[in-house]
């Protein structure tokens, strides 16, 4: 054990900023991080044990005790629940003979729930020993547990019905399907890796690239929509000889899975975008921050990077040009939604808790290891490559005035064709519903942009997806009329935010719990109309939170109340303001039982 720990630490040169990798690698080897292991790491890195524990305790895929030879993380997202997660959960529990949150006494199987794992187009899904098992059914669940009891390997349990495209690559062997329903002109158009780099090497200076990107009015695709050209320009001008390019592949917004598909099918396009950004900014290092849920792609992505190095597209003298050096490493996360926020992502990559930083300074001035750092979304890098290849003018011909080009949408929920749609900006929600085969008269609501976005009703289905109207990071969850909006959607999202709040800012730490409790109370039929008023009133305090997560963490509730007030009013109408659901007998039951047993 000691040897394993030392070997891992040596692999990372005893660098404490690589603590995430060290912990992930050790956990892969030993199954969990024991107190003894923490002591050893502390000694080897010469840092206090609390520093290790504070990182360790922040991420939900790190374990401090054994979590089973086979660890099942069943997705608890809204869409997973739509598609029968509860039945699958029940079978897992029955067959394994334990409840979720427990490990079998023989240490064989551990059952846990987790937030959205980026498989909303093929739910219910689970991660088993980091391998995705999409489209689960009770029968499949029964078979999985049976094979575990027989001691079969994960590969055997998976079988060989791999998904299409690169999902079947020998280094991926994943059961995931891409479900690309519509290919657009930018991301999913024809592409030969290296063409953009060749063009850059031959004819473009770093300022030429930035000018072209600025001319294209490309805005960041993560959701906030910051102009990419401007970001690169600020980073280029920032003081310092060492700069970094980060690709944010921590897509944790429930309902979003576009980066999964782009990384599976077009990894070279993503990496080429990072290389070009490096050239434009004057950075020699790139880091792909890959969410833990997508760790099954890692070996394959490492292989792609090596191919690019072999082809002279990565490493030293890229494209044969002297001084054009750039290399990329992959940083895995360990399960934390907030790490999708760029400064939290940087903290995490430095081996710390993923808590957002105070700004200013912004990452472009002082980011990773306090150096100027550009953080862009997976899709942004891909788009930049196509703009360099085809020109800003070509790009500007697509989309709307404020939103040029295309957007890759993740569409899921109650529709016939969930999956990936690359469409020009300017489509209405109705258009997307039609494409996805959702019957408008059966649709109650659409959650646009995930839980931090908004829950819109029929009245707004004619709104246009674009920055000038309905801005979105790209996810649409279609909610059918057969769903219970408050219980199935709003409560699930509020629980999600409660779990994922990093706890730094008081309004986020406290109100996410209070909102969840009040929504639960309304679901139990114990709400009053003053509860609804309070939910609307208190949301203003969330604006005081430091990061985007905190600022939007009550959006599921307030947008649902705004657009579906009648549903909320209906659920509290039987209770007067003098109704208090507190039940004294229930509250003393536990106490009475303790002494009766004696």
């Amino acid at each position: 054990m000691g040897n394993t720990i030392n070997a891992v630490i040596k692999k990372y040169n005893g660098d404490e900023t690589r603590l995430m990798d060290i912990l992930l690698d050790i956990q892969t080897e030993l199954g969990y991080i024991s107190d003894w292991t923490i002591e050893q790491i502390s000694k080897a890195l010469d840092i206090p044990t609390v520093e290790i524990i504070q990182t360790l305790s922040f991420y939900h895929f790190f374990h401090r005790e054994p979590k089973g030879k086979y660890t099942i993380y069943l997705n608890d997202s809204v869409v997973s629940n739509f598609y029968g997660k509860e039945e699958v959960k029940k079978v897992f529990e029955e067959e394994a003979g334990i409840k979720f949150g427990q490990v079998t006494p023989d240490g064989l199987i551990g059952l846990f729930e987790t937030a959205c794992i980026g498989m909303s187009d093929q739910e219910p899904a689970a991660l088993i020993n980091e391998q995705p098992f999409p489209s689960l059914t009770p029968e499949k669940a029964r078979k999985i547990i049976k094979m575990m009891k027989e001691g079969k390997s994960i590969e055997d349990i998976k079988g060989n019905k791999y998904g299409e495209g690169n999902n079947s690559h020998y280094l991926m062997r994943s059961l995931v399907n891409n479900n690309i329903q519509e290919r657009g002109a930018v991301i999913f158009s024809d592409y030969t890796p290296g063409d953009a780099i060749k063009k850059v090497v031959k004819e473009l200076s770093s300022t030429d690239i930035i000018e072209e990107i600025k001319k294209s009015y490309l805005r960041g695709r993560g959701g906030a929509g910051f102009p990419t050209g401007l970001k690169w320009e600020i980073a280029r001008k920032a003081q310092g000889d060492i700069k970094y390019i980060f690709c944010n592949a921590d897509e944790g917004e429930p309902g979003t899975f576009k980066d999964r598909v782009i990384l599976t099918e077009l990894p070279k396009l993503v990496f080429e975008g990072m290389i070009i950004a490096g050239y434009a900014v004057g950075a020699k290092y790139g880091i792909l921050y890959l969410r833990n849920e997508y760790r099954y792609m890692r070996e394959y992505l490492e292989h792609v990077l090596q191919e690019m190095r072999d082809d002279g597209l990565l490493g030293k003298f890229i494209g044969g040009k002297k001084g054009f050096d750039f290399d990329i490493r992959i940083q895995c996360g360990a399960g934390a939604y907030v790490c999708g926020e760029e400064s939290a992502l940087i903290e995490s990559a430095e081996g710390k808790r993923g808590e957002p930083r105070d700004r200013p300074p912004f990452p472009v001035e002082s980011g990773y290891l306090n150096r100027p750092t550009v953080v862009n979304n997976v899709e942004t890098f891909c788009t930049a490559v196509k703009i360099i290849l085809n020109g800003a003018e070509w790009y500007n011909r697509m989309g709307t005035k404020e939103s040029r080009g295309t957007k890759v949408l993740s569409v899921s929920g109650d529709c016939e064709r969930p999956g990936i749609y690359e469409v020009e900006w300017g489509f209405s929600v109705n258009d997307i519903l039609r494409k996805a085969g959702a019957k408008t008269h059966e649709v109650l609501a659409v959650q646009v942009g995930g839980p931090s976005g908004s829950c819109i009703s029929e009245k707004e289905f004619n709104r246009i997806l674009a920055y000038e109207d309905l801005a979105t990071g790209g996810s649409l969850i279609i909610i059918g009329k057969k769903r219970n909006l408050i219980k199935d959607v709003v409560l699930n999202f509020q629980k999600f935010f409660m779990e994922e709040s990093c706890g730094s800012c008081v309004p986020c730490r406290v109100l996410t719990v209070i909102y969840k409790n009040i929504i639960e109370k309304i679901v139990r039929g114990e709400g009053r109309s003053s509860d609804i008023e309070n939910l609307q009133k208190w949301a203003v305090f969330m604006k005081n939170n430091r990061c985007g997560l905190g600022q939007t963490a009550t959006n599921p509730t307030i947008t649902a109340i705004k657009n579906f007030k009648f549903i909320f009013e209906e659920s509290v109408k039987n209770n007067s303001e003098n109704f208090y659901s507190f039940n004294e007998n229930e509250a003393v039951k536990e106490y009475v039982e303790i002494f009766n047993k004696k």
């Binding site: 303001e577 208090y580 507190f582 509250a587 003393v588 106490y591 009475v592 002494f595």
Partner: protein, 185 residues
Amino acid sequence: MTKNKKIIATTSLAGCFGCHMSFLDIDERIINLIELVEFNKSPINDIKKFTKHCDIGIIEGGCCNDENIHVLREFRKNCDILISLGECAIMGGLPAMRNGIPLKECLEEAYINGPTVKDVNSQKIIPCDPDIPKILNKVYPCHEIVKIDYFLPGCPPRADLIWNALYALVTGNELLIPYEVFKYD
């Protein structure tokens, strides 16, 4: 004169009496106060039972046992206005830290396993006399039990906040609270 005086009752439920101490920190203004109000049930004058209907009830502490519930309900019945005074009444406060721990574990830690008891309680007795109030499954803030009209935050709320609020309520004047009076960080 006495006729126009507002009648006030106060109590400390699952609190530490810190809010009452802070109340006394209004210092010489207490003389102004008794010109304006008359106290009924309160630890301040040691009146144990309501002897008349009150205008204002001030509640310190949340509810951790069934007696707290009964007292709080009695206050609701006997007072026109109820004020939750301080963190514990409003949110459960420090006692609510036990809410994440099963009740049995709490009792065992307090009476059997805790470092100050484990060597002296050889018979492992947890007191459970019928006269002792029954402990609730968790600590509840007052507004989950009965309607609370006003909330004065703080741990404890500053004397100035208590004074300003009471004065405004009793005289009908506008409540002026400078930011410093309720800013705690």
